[in-house]
């Protein structure tokens, strides 16, 4: 029998069928190092249109009418931000692009920068025209060398073609872009820290107000937008605000790119219209959870976000719905977890991250997150009490209310959301001294199932501390007082006789 499969078009595969690629439209399609290929895809037409046919105010009105909201996390209406900056009269203004992409486990911005750098450059020039700025900065993390290289090439080519520089399109509009490289500090993704970092300082946040639109880079009115936000701008100008606002939900327009990862069959970037449900993303696009495991939660919003449990899998994803169920859009990381992930451990993982990344400027964040981490450590090591859980919740609320910048204000979210949705797991750690997912080492024990053990002695030979005893062909047993829970025996056993509980 011949077993020839009919070829399927890429668009018809389950992974692509439900996707709508706007921000990623050119990624993988054009050669990002050739400006001509970008121009062939209507590149720089939007800039031409803006400069020759539109006033700054009509540009802002168009963005406002499209309903575009910031893709960097907060979801602030982009048009409103531009309007503030336009209204502020100043001899000098700046346009910044936030390409710091700090959420560990997300790489949407990287793909846009590497695959379609001109889209960001063109949009920044449009923003410059709209608010009256002649200088732009792209702050890109140093961990993305390819993105940096492509941006450098793209900026060079745009200058060569007269699309950056003086008198663009023969008008009196001037605009140029400088690159700045992040140096590995998560807090620099926060907009005021990003500005302090561009200025060459330790990237500590400043209190807001004044907002950057009033007093930003070098003290001048500044707008900061995320890479993906910019990636939508040119198409809105060309296709119109109505076209864009016809996609998505009532309050969240357009598409969102998610970096789908974790316990899922198809990982990668997915761009879907706002309002797509989690189920569609995970089951249809993502192909479900591998190894027949059960879906437990999806984490969105990175260290500022929360975990969405299975009961909300049919919620249409947009900015407001995610907040309503205790998470947030964030920049678009979407990490799937199955029954083998311990939610207390995940909360601890994120706290470890924020403790490390807290810039130290304000006390609630610097000391509060450390104390919070210690409580979680106590719980996962089996020494937690019910009072600790209350203390933990209080401390979370305190840090949220009193921190200076978004980092501290959102740092407790992973704890609060897991505590709210998976309270039984916390209780199990504290009351029963058990980790239901068998992750937290101090709470596990390894046991040998007597009727599966063939007495081959492999485990006792591999045990580094001699905790396993037994004679050939007879069931072995583990001395729990000696066991260091390294798992070597379980790895070695061919009969699946060793279980961890």
């Amino acid at each position: 029998m011949t077993n020839v499969q009919q070829p399927v078009s890429l668009e018809d595969t389950p992974f692509y069928k439900k996707q709508l690629r706007l921000a990623l439209r050119n990624c993988g399609i054009i050669n990002p190092e050739k400006i001509d290929e970008y121009i062939a895809m209507d590149g720089y037409m939007a800039l031409g249109k803006v400069l020759t046919e539109m006033t700054p105010q009509t540009v802002v009105d168009t963005i406002l009418a499209s309903g575009l909201r910031g893709r960097g996390g907060g979801g602030f209406p982009t048009g409103r931000k531009w309007q503030f900056a336009l209204n502020n009269v100043s001899d000098k203004k700046y346009v910044c692009c936030n390409a710091d992409e700090g959420d560990p486990g997300a790489f949407m911005d990287r793909s846009v920068l590497e695959g379609d750098p001109h889209a960001v450059i063109e949009a920044m020039a449009i923003a410059g025209y709209a608010i009256g700025a002649d200088e732009g900065y792209i702050y890109v993390r140093a961990e993305y060398p390819t993105a940096i290289k492509r941006l450098e090439i793209a900026i060079g080519q745009a200058r060569e073609y007269g699309l950056l520089g003086k008198n663009i399109f023969g008008t009196d509009f001037n605009f140029d872009i400088t690159l700045r490289f992040g140096a590995g500090a998560f807090v620099c993704g926060e907009e005021t820290s990003l500005l302090t970092s561009i200025e060459g300082n330790r990237g500590e946040p400043r209190p807001r107000p004044p907002f950057p639109a009033v007093k930003g880079l070098f003290g001048k009115p500044t707008i900061i937008n995320n890479v993906e936000t910019y990636a939508n701008v040119c198409q809105i100008i060309l296709k119109g605000a109505e076209w864009f606002s016809s996609i998505g939900t009532e309050k969240s327009k357009g598409t969102k790119v998610f970096a789908l990862g974790g316990k899922i069959k198809n990982t990668g970037l997915v761009e879907v219209p706002m309002g797509t449900t989690l189920r569609e993303i995970i089951e249809e696009i993502g192909g479900g959870i591998p190894n027949g495991k059960k879906f437990k939660a999806a984490q969105t919003g990175g260290p500022s976000g929360g975990c969405i449990p299975a009961e909300f899998i049919d919620t249409p994803i947009d900015y407001d719905n995610l907040i309503a169920i205790g998470s947030m859009m964030g920049s678009g990381g979407l990490i799937v977890m199955d029954e083998d992930n311990c939610m207390v451990d995940i909360a601890k993982f994120f706290l470890d991250f924020t403790v490390d990344e807290s810039c130290g400027k304000c006390t609630p964040c610097r000391i509060g997150t450390r104390r919070l981490y210690e409580i979680l450590e106590k719980i996962t090591s089996g020494n937690g009490t019910l009072e600790d859980l209350d203390r933990m919740e209080n401390l979370c609320n305190y840090i949220k209310a009193n921190s200076l910048c978004g980092l501290g204000q959102t740092a407790p979210n992973p704890v609060l959301s897991t505590y709210k949705r998976f309270r039984d797991e916390y209780i199990a750690h504290v009351v029963d001294k058990k980790c239901p997912a068998a992750v937290c080492k101090s709470l596990l024990c390894y046991e040998i199932t007597a009727d599966k053990c063939k007495g081959c002695t492999a485990c006792s030979r591999v045990c580094p501390v001699g905790a396993i005893s037994g004679t050939v062909k007879n069931p072995h047993s583990i001395d729990k007082t000696k066991c260091i829970k390294c798992g070597a025996c379980m790895e070695r056993c061919k009969f699946g006789a060793i279980v961890k509980k």
Binding site: F181, A183, G184, K263
Partner: protein, 166 residues
Amino acid sequence: MKKPISKIPFNGTPEQEAKLKAAIERSNGNKSELIYIMQQAQDIYGYLPYEVQVMIAEGMDVPLEKVYGVATFYSQFALSPKGKNAISVCLGTACYVKGSKAVMDKFSSELGIEPGQCTADGEFSLESCRCVGACGLAPVCVVNDDVYGKVTPEKVVEIIAKYKSK
């Protein structure tokens, strides 16, 4: 974040110094380029010892404590040299969920060093990083500039063997 300060004596060459001076020259006295200058200095020297920080402070006409402040704020800057082979295990969310902690532990026990340290013979240094943007391949580790995906504790041994000086 606390950073270990190297006790190894500084042995910069005149060529390195010339390169750094040229970089400082190019910045044209623009103090907002301090971080960029320090990044180039780290490329030139591999790390930022006290002597290099002094050169930068003088060249850029900024206080030394500002240079030190920036060097300790950003995790990219190292105050002690890295090993000949720099191993970096991703502990980003996607990798963590897929078990990169076990990979890190294995590197740590195989090399006999903690993250942030360098082996006594200077062959290997170990550190963690947060997402290199290869989450689809989780768990991920990077050795020098080579990215390894779907790493398991078993594969760690092979990876180390590959880089051991022959």
